[in-house]
């Protein structure tokens, strides 16, 4: 009888978990999406198609859509080529300084793209950019070297920060790939170039495609770079256009409805991209991870070794060092526009943003609060969902998975509109202009990160481990707590940082949700910059970068030492 009672208890626990997860996801993810669709097509309770058609037919919106697609296309193409090239160079050739370069190439990955855009604006804006000024002085011309406030400029900056998606995927595919696949081609009579073309590249196509699709989707829904570089020249993409629509109407319901309608357009574009991704990834899926690990035979670059190393170091300098330098240097300037020399340097800006600017201090505090609390909450919710999806056989868990992964592909700006529609009084609760509405949006946005991290760990915890605990007399809850949770703790901690870091630098969602006292770090940097207070915004950016770098160090430190399942 007792045993029977326990069985019942187990079923109950799983079902309760399932229900909790589903409720959370419906409130945070599903409802906001439904609200967007509802508000676009219904006015009050009557069907109203005109709003959608008006918004979609508006020529400036069509322009924005076209810009979005053009930018995303070029960012994907160039970013993929750059990523594959460097991955191959590091994964398969005898180029020196590999370890160092592998670390440095990942830095752009954690660099907030909108701060990068700001840095490039400081360097290459047509008249006041430092590089352009230098160029005009040296060449005696009035033509700038490059105008960063253009479609090409936006593409350039996005490529700098998105190519690591492809780079990381391909490097890891090359590392896992069985070297004998290439060696057997060599022994069959193929030379190195032939092997690269016919064996290596086709085999990493799935990894390339996965990375390229990540770039495509990220670029389609990206806000920061086009906002920083495009606004002043009237270059809009769908996410920045949505922001502009709502901003211009000062948060009126009409403006939000227009934004919602445009969001649907953006979501359609992203969904088409996702559908493409599915098709491509399905076409080529094979197992290249076989055999004993042996060092692959590295291609001897001979005479091109040092020129190629030069290219690598130069691009690292351009992508990583130059923007970092300009941010910290401008942050230390007495006044924007002064030459960058030691005599003009001061710590006043850093002092000001840290100790006397109320807005900057609030922003740092708010971002820490939001990043930590959303990371903790999302980590637990994500782990719970991962547990149900991976370990429990309950009906409807695929719905759970879809809901949890949805925010992955829903652009942040769209999610923000959904959250506004949902939490500004529609359901008797008005959180608009408070920090709580941002927290809810962050949780919805980042639960997927935690879920992925935890389910990767959970998949490696064999059923028998929990069953062994139960056979020793532990209850279901005890075995969960003492065995499963204990084993996946490293995965959960990694999940915490995977949320904390992007939340710390978040801009897209919070820029639509912030109120007078709930600015985040990203919003404050953006706002101070838009006010024209360039040096202070650079100083605050520098502080943000330091915080993020420290967080990354901490993440490395935690993930390095993994005694449980890795």
């Amino acid at each position: 009888m007792k045993m029977f009672g326990r069985r019942e208890g187990k079923l109950d626990l799983n079902q309760i978990l399932m229900l909790i997860c589903l409720t959370i996801l419906i409130i945070t993810v599903a409802m906001p999406m439904i609200m967007i669709v509802y508000n676009t097509f219904f006015y009050g309770f009557t069907f109203d198609w005109s709003m959608f058609t008006n918004v979609v037919m508006d020529p400036s919106n069509v322009d924005a859509m076209w810009n979005t697609i053009v930018i995303a296309f070029w960012v994907t193409v160039v970013g993929t080529i750059v990523g594959v090239f460097y991955a191959w160079l590091i994964g398969r050739t005898n180029i020196p300084l590999k370890g160092l370069m592998k670390t440095l190439f990942v830095i752009p990955y954690m660099f907030p793209p909108f701060i990068g855009a700001m840095a490039w604006g400081l360097l290459l804006s047509p008249r006041s950019g430092y590089i352009n000024k230098l160029w005009m002085l040296m060449m005696g011309t009035r033509e700038p070297l490059m105008n960063i406030n253009s479609i090409a400029g936006i593409v350039f900056v996005e490529v700098c920060y998105y190519f690591p998606f492809v780079f990381l995927q391909v490097v890891s595919a090359l590392e896992r790939m069985d070297p004998t696949l290439e060696e057997s081609a060599r022994i069959s009579g193929a030379n190195q170039l032939y092997v690269i073309r016919k064996i290596t590249l086709p085999l990493v196509v799935p990894a390339v495609a996965a990375g390229a699709m990540l770039i495509l989707i990220s670029s389609l829904s990206h806000f920061g770079v086009p906002a920083m570089l495009g606004f002043s020249r009237g270059i809009f993409t769908l996410p920045t256009k949505i922001y502009e629509l709502i901003n211009r109407s000062a948060g009126s319901f009409e403006g939000i409805r227009q934004g919602a309608a445009l969001s649907i357009l953006l979501v359609v574009v992203v969904v088409i991209a996702l559908w493409l991704q599915r098709k491509i990834l399905k076409a080529g899926h094979y197992d290249i991870i076989r055999g004993k690990s042996m060092r692959p035979m590295l291609i001897n670059l001979r005479t091109s070794k040092f020129p190629l190393l030069g290219v690598c170091l130069a691009s690292l300098f351009v992508i990583v060092i130059l923007p970092l330098y300009i941010i910290f240097a401008v942050g230390g300037l007495k006044a924007y526009g002064l030459p960058l020399n030691l005599a003009n340097m001061t710590l006043d800006n850093y002092y000001h943003v840290l100790f006397s600017s109320r807005m900057a201090q609030d922003a740092i505090k708010n971002s820490f609060f939001l990043a930590i609390s959303s990371a903790i909450i999302a980590m637990f919710v994500g782990t719970m969902i991962a547990y149900v999806v991976v370990k429990v056989k309950v009906k409807g868990k695929s719905l759970l998975e879809i809901l949890a992964l949805l925010p992955y592909s829903v652009p942040g700006i769209v999610l923000a509109i959904g959250v506004i529609l949902m939490w500004s009084g529609t359901f008797y609760l008005n959180l608009y202009n408070t920090i709580w509405i941002i927290l809810i949006a962050y949780i919805a946005r980042y639960v997927a990160f935690a879920m992925k991290s935890s389910s990767a760990s959970l998949e490696q915890v064999h059923y028998s481990l929990e069953e062994a605990a139960r056979s020793c007399g532990a209850t279901h809850l005890e075995s969960l707590r003492d065995i499963t949770i204990a084993l996946i703790r490293p995965g959960m901690i990694a999940g915490f940082f995977l949320i904390f870091l992007p939340a710390m630098r978040e801009l897209t969602t919070s820029i639509l949700l912030y109120g007078p006292f709930s600015r985040t770090l990203g919003v404050a940097i953006y706002a101070i910059n838009a006010e024209g207070n360039i040096t202070q915004s650079a100083a605050l950016s520098g502080i943000a970068i330091l915080i993020i770098m420290l967080g990354n160090l901490a993440l490395r430190f935690v993930t390095k030492d993994r005694r449980s399942v890795s």
């Binding site: 057997s184 069959s188 009579g189 085999l203 076989r290």
Partner: protein, 368 residues
């Protein structure tokens, strides 16, 4: 001419933990035309490194390798022929069948690289597939095939160019035991038909003995013995080779006034003659478990410690002095645990006590 000749071949690796390690130490070796030659040894002994140097995937630290009458690697002359220009066929342990190409395309790859015409390609691939029992699977993709079939693709791909020398790197160790046995026959059959020289790397002594005309046993980068399988099994050059080729008992003994006493024994002499050329005062007597008879009376007296019935034979454990000896006897004599029995050694080999290389050193090097 398709001899493979290694002259003073040496390979050194520098490792972070162990410093410089000699993986292959001064190999001198001639593998004859049409011969099936095995490189046999425990993992980490340098056999795969040797094969990869012949294939051209590793450069030498010193020495020369010749294939036929041409040098392909010669360190002193700075000569190094790329793997694709050595005209070899090779089969890898993990099959290395390309997952993005179908069976036909995999096997046709060496022909395609050399721009062989369509018609000739079709007929040569068809023939290679026929000889490896893959007929009719041309358009199938590797993901739909079993391990045995993948290994056949790898074989077909290696023989499609009709190479003079075929390199096999533990080709059967990823297959199940039954399949392994039948593939051995097929490889032997292919060799009989096409008459190529085979260099075969394995850690499985039964496989090496079944396939090879001659074989080489190596340990920690040093050649221990080169001989035919029969000669080597009957006369292992040292304790390591003896131990590697089959189950073995090593009994440490001391010699006093013309008699042999097991170490730790109570003075009962060991019933075997001292070979004429053995002059040391202590040695090791090696025997195989199936070369010892158990008798009710006479022999070296001891007591049965354990008895395991295994169907084809019965295994007994007894002590000789303070050392345990295993005996496998066919025809169950019905001795039970605790029974007093006599040991009759039908064949033994004598070795010096300390001729084995230290196991600790081997363990230490395994990390490479």
């Amino acid at each position: 001419m398709s001899e493979v000749i290694l002259k003073n071949v040496t390979k050194k690796f520098s490792t972070r933990t162990l410093g410089e390690v000699t993986a292959v130490d001064d190999f001198n070796l001639t593998i004859r035309e049409g011969e099936c030659f095995s490189l046999l040894g425990p993992s980490g002994c340098g056999k795969t490194t040797t094969l990869r140097m012949i294939a051209g995937f590793e450069d030498l630290s010193d020495g020369e390798i010749w294939i036929g009458d041409k040098p392909v690697s010669a360190k002193k002359r700075n000569l190094y022929v790329q793997p694709e220009d050595r005209g070899l066929g090779m089969v890898f342990q993990a099959f290395a069948v390309w997952p993005h190409l179908n069976v036909f395309e995999n096997v046709a790859f060496p022909l395609r690289v050399r721009n062989v015409g369509r018609r000739e390609m079709d007929s040569r691939v068809a023939e290679a597939l026929k000889h490896t029992g893959l007929g009719g699977l041309d358009r199938t993709f590797p993901s739909d095939l079993s391990g045995g079939q993948l290994q056949r693709i790898a074989l077909a791909r290696a023989i499609v160019m009709n190479p003079k020398v075929l390199l096999l790197d533990e080709p059967l160790s990823n297959l199940d035991p039954k399949l392994r046995e039948s593939m051995r026959f097929e490889i032997k059959e292919l060799q009989r038909r096409f008459n190529f020289t085979i260099i075969y790397v394995t850690h499985d002594q039964a496989e090496a003995m079944a396939l090879s005309d001659r074989m080489l046993v190596m340990d920690m980068g040093v050649i221990q013995q080169i001989d035919t399988p029969t000669n080597m099994y009957n006369n292992p050059a040292n304790k390591f080779v003896y131990g590697f080729l089959g189950l073995s008992n090593f009994v440490d003994v001391n010699i006093g006034d013309g008699k042999v006493y097991p170490e730790g024994g109570s003075g009962q002499p060991f019933p075997c003659a001292i070979p004429g050329d053995f002059t040391e005062a202590a040695g090791t007597v090696a025997s195989r478990p199936n070369e010892i008879d158990l008798t009710a009376e006479g022999g070296y007296r001891t007591v049965v410690k354990a008895r395991i019935f295994l169907g084809d034979y019965t295994e007994y454990r007894v002590d000789v002095g303070n050392q345990e000896v295993r005996i496998q006897s066919t025809g169950d004599r019905g001795f039970m645990v605790g029974d007093s029995v006599g040991l009759d050694f039908t064949r033994v080999q004598w070795y010096s006590r300390d001729d084995g290389i230290s196991d600790a050193e081997r363990e230490r090097r395994k990390v490479i």
